[in-house]
């Protein structure tokens, strides 16, 4: 194990670890507000390491959805990770073996993926393990802190903290929507669809998990047909 590479990885991952801590704090507070225990909230973060997927999963647990819905929802929401894993696999080359890949796959999140791909030097196993360490600790520790704070804070402050997660989602989608018109259109489509599912009485029968899946698949498929991405965007 090359400690130098591991340390470089830790250093690169530090800002992501701090960011994850603050955002997962919101997830912890929200999980408590919806009736989960601090232990269960922390367990979800420690085993999943994904914001949108966990959030949808929490909605399904609270609504007591079926396991089939859970699988479908995670497949659709987290499908982007398969694309990232494919890109990361290309970037890692043949030198990195099967066992390290099993570990690295666990923490291939949007931000860690972006940092790994942005590295100029070749990717090594110690670097990647170092890169994942602080984000995992930050995400899990932040959830625990948020859950504990959520257990003692009054209800109105809990609800306010729960909004942090929505704030993060908005901060992720708005900047690219400004730059890419198709992204803006896919969002408007998804927004109209999810409003229909929430407000049209006949569509309210559709469960929370399935409606997220349908909104995502329909909006993304329509925009993929109307605005196929250029080839250079795929290289990233």
């Amino acid at each position: 194990m090359k400690w130098n590479e591991f340390k470089k990885g830790i250093h690169t991952g530090l800002p992501v670890g701090l960011g994850y801590f603050s955002v997962s704090f919101g997830f912890g507070a929200m999980a408590i507000a919806q009736g989960l225990s601090a232990f269960h909230a922390t367990l979800i973060s420690a085993t999943n390491l994904t914001s949108a997927g966990q959030f949808a999963g929490l909605t399904l647990i609270v609504a007591m959805g079926t396991l089939w819905e859970m699988v479908m929802t995670q497949l659709v929401i987290n499908s982007r990770y398969s694309l990232m894993s494919i890109a990361l696999a290309q970037r890692m080359g043949e030198k990195i073996g099967f066992l390290p890949r099993l570990l690295i796959a666990f923490f291939n999140t949007d931000e860690i993926f972006a940092l790994a791909m942005a590295r100029r030097e070749p990717l090594t196993v110690p670097f990647l393990l170092g890169l994942g360490t602080l984000p995992i600790l930050g995400w899990t520790g932040g959830t625990l802190m948020g859950a504990l704070a959520g257990s003692v804070l009054p209800t109105d402050i809990r609800a306010a903290l729960g909004v942090m997660l929505y704030g993060m989602f908005i901060a992720i989608v708005i900047p690219p929507a400004r730059q890419e018109k198709p992204v803006c259109i896919v969002m408007i489509l998804a927004l109209i669809l999810s409003s229909l599912f929430a407000w049209i009485p006949a569509l309210q029968q559709v469960s929370a998990g399935i409606s997220i899946v349908l909104c995502t698949v329909i909006a993304a498929a329509v925009c993929a047909l109307l605005f196929p991405i250029r080839d250079e965007e795929v290289a990233e």
């Binding site: 949108a52 109105d156 992720i172 900047p175 995502t216 993929a224």
Partner: protein, 103 residues
């Protein structure tokens, strides 16, 4: 159903999505439609989960709407994830306090 069954299902599904392409399928996706679809999925999914749920996630629809507006304006101005998240929270608290005073 036990909560552990749900958590295990979530975790295994998410892990398989990440690990299979990294270990077995190492070829790039050729279908332009599929690549475009996967490019748009995160935006569609995050939007569908945020709206209109954010409106009903707090005590009143007014404070939820305040959080939404504050977050969109700050995100549009390119503020960081943390700033936007905290400002949305603050907007909810302030709106709730103002509503209590007005009543």
């Amino acid at each position: 159903m036990s909560i552990y069954t749900y958590i295990l299902t979530m975790a295994v599904t998410t892990y398989l999505i990440r690990v299979i392409p990294l270990t077995i399928f190492r070829k790039p996706i050729r279908s332009r439609f599929l690549r475009s679809f996967l490019h748009y999925v995160p935006y569609a999914c995050l939007t569908a989960m945020t709206f209109p749920a954010i409106l009903t996630s707090t005590a009143t629809i007014i404070s939820g709407a305040a959080a939404l507006i504050v977050a969109v304006v700050l995100a549009y101005r390119g503020k960081s994830l943390l700033t936007v998240s905290l400002a949305a929270s603050a907007a909810v608290m302030i709106t709730e306090w103002v509503l209590i005073i007005v009543k």
